[in-house]
């Protein structure tokens, strides 16, 4: 079995994998980073969104081998130690989650939206850019509010990183 290596949440991670192993399986099963979830088989739901070299990807659609040598951030790596990321804080403050299953992917996508579009987001932009993440609990109402507030907080704290094009 081939070996795959990458930096996950700031740490070197390496394992031998079946070549058909998906990135999400590598993260969940090899690294036991179970915060990244699997909600569908067709790249529709976004529960598996992580950042790969600074950009949001659906980790169910990336082979682990494709990510060899990359830098990956998962929901577990978003906070700075005990200091929550502003987007995590915003989801809690605005009741942007209920069952919590879509939440890691939502937050990772939301951070990516802000990185791409900046901290001043209107409702229409948020709703259109979150299309790739399905939530069955919240009706999106409070998620939209959370992303709007999280974006402002990221801007205020200077936490917006322009993704490498």
């Amino acid at each position: 079995m081939p070996t795959v290596s990458m930096i996950v949440n700031g740490r070197e991670a390496s394992a031998n994998v079946d070549p058909r192993t998906l990135l999400v399986q590598f993260l969940r099963e090899k690294l036991r980073l179970t915060g990244t979830h699997i909600g569908c088989d067709t790249s529709q739901c976004g529960a598996c969104v992580v950042h790969l070299d600074g950009k949001a990807v659906k980790s169910c659609t990336v082979l682990a081998l494709t990510a060899n040598g990359s830098v990956v951030t998962t929901i577990e790596g978003l906070a700075n130690g005990d200091q929550l990321h502003p987007m995590q804080e915003a989801f809690r403050e605005h009741h942007g989650l209920q069952c919590g299953f879509c939440t890691p992917g939502m937050i990772m996508s939301a951070v990516d939206i802000v990185n791409r579009r900046g901290g001043d987001l209107d409702e229409k932009t948020i709703r259109e850019d979150l299309e790739g993440n399905i939530c069955r609990c919240t009706g999106y109402h409070n998620i939209v509010k959370a992303v709007e507030a999280g974006a402002r907080a990221m801007a205020a704290k200077g936490e917006i990183r322009q993704a490498a094009e």
């Binding site: 009741h95 209920q98 069952c99 299953f101 409702e123 399905i134 609990c137």
Partner: protein, 790 residues
């Protein structure tokens, strides 16, 4: 946090959120056991077929395969089948005709997705590979998916036990009085209504991990359940896998349920059983297409509905005949949904003198159908609110005025269909909703939209539901196989912290916050000192779980009852500490005081003293501070309210857009308004999904055509508006907290509001659900000649 900031009525931020926003939730698929293997189910590709033979020789030799089991293996071990827990009798007095429901098919498969075999292997990839190598020789039979056709003579027979595929022909109400009212009515409204089949689709698909401990001869099952104790009861008492004291069922973090995780499923049975056969822990995790095929679906009613109205716009009677598609097997509560959870709500918010409802429940070669958010009540609301809206149009009254003329205004109110409404104020929620929605300004907005070439419509839905399921005496007399109480235990630790063990289960509802608010409020202690324990049959002794918006009204009432006992016991301890008579002790704001003095002691000190038994005479005062309670409700609760949908349709494309949504609900006392509003938002989204997007389609041969998120339209963020949500309050008199329940209201109210708005916009009543752009475009085209003539 100060008690007043965390007590009843405060929008406390959720205590469970930290683990979810940091990726530390523990869902069933996140749990892995040492030595674990993986189960993969081989499912039927045919909707109806005999199994002539299963050749597993090649598959068993595949890499990583541990074992492959079929229905014959389970039957040989005398493992029972799955059950339906609610007995319904037909009009002629005969009991419902249910066929057997084996966990793995024996001899015949009855829907696409039915369980044929289970492969247990070291990895999922190996299990899938081996499943592909199994050679099943099927004898394909004709299939039937349409319940009306299934009832016809010559239709394929799904179960030999149910001739004509009819499980029951049930009736509720007064047929003679209803027919008489129709005979004398000035107006009769008739509608043919299809309540579309839905797939619940919680974002976490179902999963199970089963482990057998040969040392203790006990099983542990981690499963995606809304009611682990009910699963344990079924697996023990009916399936017969293990006695209850040898079976621990844990429902850890569960990623949404919406009803679909109430039921006991084949995969749970098979994993538990097989874990003992192979003596290794087994994990099964459903993929999304498996979820579409095998999670119980919702709704799927076809109804002929009629309303009789007098010249003054007063409703005289309602008559309905519903054909309910049950699918290929009777799921756990499937029989109760189109009967006692449906027809009992057909009075809506209105004083209707006579109601008659007949229901035919039908087997078809489709996925089993059971409770989905609202369960019967959305179907009833849709029937009532469509009839009322169309009646108003037919009689020529404003739809709000028509509703007002017929509202129930005196409580308690006995309907002709069992329910006794305890309290409500339907005028108040209608009035407030109309103000927020600015219905007075609607004609101006409609005209403005018309200038832009758009058709704008306004639709009301004044719904009622029955929650707080359920008074055991009542439901027992109607056929329920179990009591529907809830249990709680309040453990006060010597340091004054409190653990509450509840039989309710939280899978998004926020019980770890709201239940703690009640405890903090009642005991006058910081909310940080309270923890809520749920979802584990070894920790929580008994419970009936979470469904039917029952956790507040029933689950919290059980906690309140246990808290009463804790307070009574604590007063005895306080009397000892304060050297006063027990009758002189008052408890308020976390302090025990000797009445009329300044002598007092705080809750923590009393808790500690309860355990220092050498300080008092244990013959007079039993040590400890821990109390349990079972609470059985006196009545259902009756949340009600009014939702108003304003929608625009583009006549050229059929595209619709909800431009404003207003919801005013009466849920009684609110524990946490933030969480209540969140429940309403989610419910509306699911109801709008039903009305506009979600259609479950089978082809003639019984293939499910909508078995992925590519093919089944889940509402996305860009499909929905933000919602204007508000409440009115009449305190529920039927439980100690005045709570009615809020979990299902949005899904119950919203489909009728959408369709009433769309039919208003396009100008005729034939708009199906889901009202896709194509369906709306056709509806608009049908009205073109009429509009041209105007």
């Amino acid at each position: 946090m100060a008690v007043k900031e965390s007590g009843i009525g405060a929008s406390v931020r959720r205590r469970e959120d930290f683990r979810f926003i940091t990726g530390r939730g523990q869902y069933t698929d996140d749990i892995s056991r040492p030595g674990q293997v993986v189960a993969y189910f081989l499912r039927s590709p045919y909707a109806h077929a005999t199994i002539k033979s299963i050749d597993m020789a090649a598959a068993k030799k595949m890499p990583g395969v541990v074992e492959i089991f079929t229905g014959e293996d389970i039957a040989a071990d005398k493992v029972g089948g799955l059950i339906c827990g609610w007995m319904i009798h037909s009009q002629d007095g005969t009991p419902m005709k249910a066929g057997p429901h084996p966990a793995l098919a024996v001899g015949k498969v009855r829907y696409v997705g039915d369980h044929v075999a289970v492969v247990v292997a070291e990895t999922l990839a190996e299990a899938r590979d081996a499943a592909e190598a199994i050679n099943v020789d099927y004898g394909v039979l004709p299939a039937v998916t349409d319940p009306a056709k299934a009832l016809g003579s010559g239709a394929p027979e799904v179960h030999a036990e149910a001739p004509d595929n009819r499980i029951f022909n049930w009736h509720l109400g007064d047929k003679a009085a209803t027919d008489a009212a129709f005979a004398g009515a000035k107006h009769v409204v008739t509608l043919d209504i299809v309540n579309n089949r839905l797939v619940p689709n919680p974002m976490e698909a179902r999963a199970a991990v089963a482990e057998y401990d040969a040392g203790t001869e006990g099983f542990t099952l981690w499963t995606t359940s809304q009611n682990p104790h009910v699963i344990r009861l079924i697996l023990s008492a009916f399936v017969g896998l293990a006695p209850e004291h040898k079976l621990r069922v844990i429902a850890p973090d569960v990623g949404g349920g919406f009803g679909s995780k109430i039921f006991c499923y084949a995969e749970e049975v098979v994993c538990v059983w097989a874990s003992k056969k192979i003596r290794r822990p087994i994990k099964w995790a459903s993929d999304r297409t498996e979820a579409f095929l095998s999670d119980a679906h919702g709704r799927d009613h076809a109804t002929k509905a009629e309303l009789a109205v007098d010249a003054g716009g007063r409703i005289l009677a309602l008559r309905a005949h519903t054909i309910a598609n049950i699918g290929a097997y009777m799921s756990t509560f499937s029989s109760s949904v189109p009967t006692y959870l449906y027809a009992t709500l057909l009075s809506g918010q209105y004083a209707i003198p006579a109601i008659s409802c007949t229901v035919d429940a039908v087997y078809t070669n489709t996925t089993p159908v059971d409770a989905y958010r609202g369960a019967g009540r959305p179907e009833a609301t849709f029937v009532v609110e469509r009839l009322v809206e169309v009646a108003a149009r037919q009689v020529g009254l404003d739809p709000a005025e028509f509703r007002r003329r017929n509202f129930i205004r005196q409580f308690p109110h006995q309907t002709p269909v069992i329910m006794n409404y305890d309290i409500g104020d339907y005028e108040a929620s209608l009035k407030k909703a109309m103000e927020i929605a600015d219905t007075a300004g609607f004609p101006k907005r409609k005209a403005e939209a018309a200038r832009r070439g758009k058709l704008r419509g306004l639709g009301y839905s004044a719904y009622i539901e029955a929650c707080g399921i359920a008074p055991s005496q009542a439901v027992g007399s109607l056929g329920a196989g179990v009591g529907l109480w809830e249990s709680a235990e309040v453990r006060v630790n010597p340091v004054g912290t409190v653990e509450v063990l509840t039989g309710s289960h939280s899978h998004g509802q926020g019980h770890e916050t709201t239940f703690a608010q009640l405890v903090a409020d009642r005991l006058g202690i910081p909310i940080e000192n309270v923890s809520i324990v749920h979802g584990d049959t070894d920790k929580v002794q008994f419970g009936m779980g979470t469904y039917g918006s029952r956790s507040g009204a029933v689950g919290m009432s059980a906690i309140a009852k246990a808290l009463d006992k804790v307070e009574a016991k604590a007063k005895k301890v306080a009397a000892h500490v304060l050297e006063a008579a027990e009758g002189d002790i008052e408890f308020k704001d976390g302090k025990f005081t000797v009445s009329g003095t300044d002598k007092s002691v705080d809750f923590g000190t009393v808790a500690l003293n309860a355990y220092i038994a050498h300080k008092f005479n244990p013959q007079e005062l039993e040590p400890g501070l821990k109390e349990g309670a079972f609470y059985d409700p006196q009545n259902f609760t009756f949340p009600a309210g009014c939702h108003i949908c304003e929608i625009e349709v583009d006549p050229e494309t059929g595209q619709s857009e909800i431009v404003k949504w207003t919801a005013v609900d009466d849920f009684g006392v609110l524990i946490n308004p933030m969480i209540v509003h969140g429940q309403v938002h989610g419910g509306i989204a699911q109801g709008v999904g039903q009305a506009l997007f979600e259609g479950t389609r089978y082809d003639e041969s019984g293939q499910l055509l909508t078995a992925s998120f590519n093919d089944y339209a889940m509402p996305r963020s860009s499909d929905l508006p933000s919602f204007a949500v508000d409440t009115t309050e009449t305190k529920c008199p039927s439980n100690p907290l005045g709570i009615k329940g809020c979990g299902e209201a949005g899904a119950i109210a919203s489909p009728a509001a959408v369709i009433n708005a769309l039919t208003d916009a396009v100008g005729h009543e034939n708009v199906p659900m889901p009202a896709s752009a194509h369906a709306l475009w056709r509806a608009v085209q049908a009205m073109k000649p009429a509009r041209a003539a105007e």
